[in-house]
């Protein structure tokens, strides 16, 4: 074997890789490892105690149930909105399309304030859900809105209209076409978007801070529980629940990602 010239030589390749890995480690990987270690610092019994305390369980339950509800709602509405944005025409559509990303761009604390303005004690329409569990759902709906919409839109745009036309020429009604032709093609995207939305929802903090009141065992989400544990100088407890939250988010992300790819393969 002769040592010939490399194809498109990149002498800095190994260095670049090293910088990337070092950066990632310093900023993210090592700190996350620290959380894992801290959670087990006092042994697995302490870990278990921390995550099974009534307040922790209540917080986790609230977060998980709210996240599931929110993902289901926004999966439906997200698809609907994507449909309207792609297939419909109306004045101002471009503006509406741009505004979908507002929850991405708006700081979460401002989101909390905006929801409080409309759905809180000073609500101009008299709807006051502040300090209730509904507020948790409302806040999470706000922040997870863009995920499914943005996942579905490109798929809808690419969709082969001829498929629908073929189905119609064979006698299928519009609803049937939607149910049997369009929806199956959108499913992978909806699933992928839902996974991302769920991961976002379980970790959400800023938008919940002002409108829910963060009442322990009532409207306190897992994220706020972790925060309160840190403030109470109980990093082990905080770390334990953090690990649970992390695992849930990762498992869902991976599972939904796998599910989405599997659904996609059927399309090939």
């Amino acid at each position: 074997m002769s040592r010939g010239p490399r194809a498109v030589p990149i002498p800095g390749a190994a260095l670049g890789r090293g910088v990337v890995i070092a950066y990632l480690s310093i900023v993210a990987l090592i700190p996350l490892a620290a959380v894992l270690f801290k959670s087990l610092e006092n042994g697995t019994d302490a870990f278990w105690d921390a995550v099974s305390s009534p307040q922790a369980v209540a917080a986790l339950k609230l977060t998980l149930i709210a996240s599931v509800i929110v993902v289901l709602i926004n999966a439906v509405f997200g698809t609907l909105i994507a449909w309207v944005l792609v297939r419909d025409e109306f004045p101002g559509k471009n503006v509406v399309n741009a505004l979908i990303d507002l929850p991405f761009a708006l700081p979460t604390i401002v989101a909390s304030l905006t929801l409080l303005a409309f759905y809180g004690p000073d609500s101009p329409v008299g709807v006051n859900i502040a300090y209730t569990r509904v507020a948790v759902v409302a806040a999470l709906l706000f922040v997870t809105l863009p995920f499914v919409v943005r996942a579905v839109q490109p798929v809808l745009l690419e969709l082969d209209r001829e498929m629908e036309q073929a189905a119609e020429s064979l006698g299928a009604s519009r609803t049937t076409v939607f149910r049997r032709i369009i929806l199956p093609n959108l499913t992978p995207a909806v699933i992928a978007g839902a996974g991302l939305a769920f991961a976002r929802a379980v970790g959400e903090f800023g938008s919940l801070v002002l409108i829910t009141g963060n009442l322990p065992n009532k409207t306190e989400a897992a994220s706020y529980f972790i925060f309160s544990r840190v403030e109470s100088d109980d990093p082990v407890g905080a770390a334990a629940v953090s690990v649970v939250l992390l695992i849930v988010a990762l498992v869902v992300l991976l599972f939904f990602g796998w599910l989405s790819k599997r659904a996609l393969r059927h399309e090939e």
């Binding site: 074997m1 002769s2 040592r3 010939g4 010239p5 490399r6 194809a7 498109v8 030589p9």
Partner: protein
């Protein structure tokens, strides 16, 4: 600059792209690497350019061993099938790229770019972007770009493969003329035997990573080294168990020495030429190509019995 390839081998995983290939390309010549897809010709070209490293063997350019040199050092011009245009730069900046890298003066660059754009008939397009050019124009730009730095060797990888038939024919002739003007050692890859025969002085036939034959178009056509070359470089039909050129078969109305009896199945008129499809006694079929006038002379019709003999080429 001459090119000498010595015992070059290259594999990609299990796939053997080049198997102990040796080749000499004369200085100033116009050579084609011809062969079917996957035969190794693009790989060989890229090894010469330094875009691939051979597993073993050496490459010399102008007498110097270039095997260890990266493409930057080899001073080879390379033209890609899909142009590889720098889409974010104007045509002028594309052509100037090699000179800009070498930090030549603005005047020198402008002058040279002008010269080259005129050479490739793209003067007036200097400030356009590649996306505004047709395929053929983009390829001419790519050529100008490669020539700008006065490479020792010019390599073209299926340069006309992405263009449609008329443009292809035009550019073929144009490449030939360009070579006559510029005289740089040129090697191009093609799977189109017509293109190779029309353009190149010397053809290297590659198949399955090995060189089947090297020769002029005439040599390859008339004295093919083996069945593969014969079949690849021109049309073949079978007669008396041999492969022959359909043009080289005589049709006789009477039996003759060494002639085989056959019945005409079908006569196909291909414009200037006529293809006569025949059945031989043993159930085999063959075909012969003759000119229209000759067919008319012989008054051939389907169902006729005729005698076929291979005419010995002069």
């Amino acid at each position: 600059m001459s090119i000498v390839v010595d015992s070059v081998s290259k594999r990609f995983g299990d796939f053997v792209a080049l198997d102990d290939v040796s080749l000499e390309v004369r200085d100033g010549s116009l050579t084609a690497l011809l062969g079917p897809s996957g035969g190794g010709k693009s790989t060989l070209l890229r090894v010469i350019a330094g875009l691939e490293a051979p597993d073993s063997g050496t490459v010399s350019i102008g007498g110097e061993d270039a095997t260890q040199q990266p493409p930057q050092r080899r001073n080879v011009g390379f033209v890609f099938q899909h142009y590889a245009a720098f889409k974010h730069m104007t045509v002028a900046k594309n052509v100037a790229f090699g000179l800009t890298i070498r930090k030549r003066s603005t005047e020198e660059i402008d002058e040279r770019v002008d010269e080259l754009l005129k050479l490739v008939h793209l003067d007036g397009f200097a400030h356009r972007y590649p996306s505004q050019l047709s395929g053929g124009q983009r390829q001419r730009m790519a050529l100008a770009r490669a020539l700008a730095v006065q490479p020792r060797v010019l390599l073209l990888d299926e340069p006309f493969g992405a263009l449609d038939a008329t443009v292809r024919k035009e550019l073929r002739a144009w490449l030939r003329r360009l070579h006559d003007e510029v005289h740089v050692t040129t090697v191009f890859v093609t799977h189109d035997q017509e293109e190779a025969m029309e353009v190149a002085e010397q053809i290297v036939v590659l198949n399955d990573g090995k060189i089947e034959q090297v020769g002029s178009p005439k040599e390859l056509y008339e004295q093919p080294a083996n069945d593969f070359v014969m079949g690849f470089v021109g049309p073949v039909s079978e007669l008396s168990g041999r492969w022959v050129r359909p043009h080289d078969v005589e049709i006789k109305r009477e039996p003759a020495d060494g002639a085989q009896e056959a019945m005409i199945d079908r006569i196909v008129h291909l414009g200037f030429e006529v293809r006569v499809e025949l059945s031989l006694g043993d159930g085999e079929r063959t075909w012969v190509q003759i000119t229209k006038s000759h067919a008319q002379e012989l008054e051939l019709t389907a169902g006729d019995i005729v005698w076929l003999r291979v005419a010995v080429p002069v």
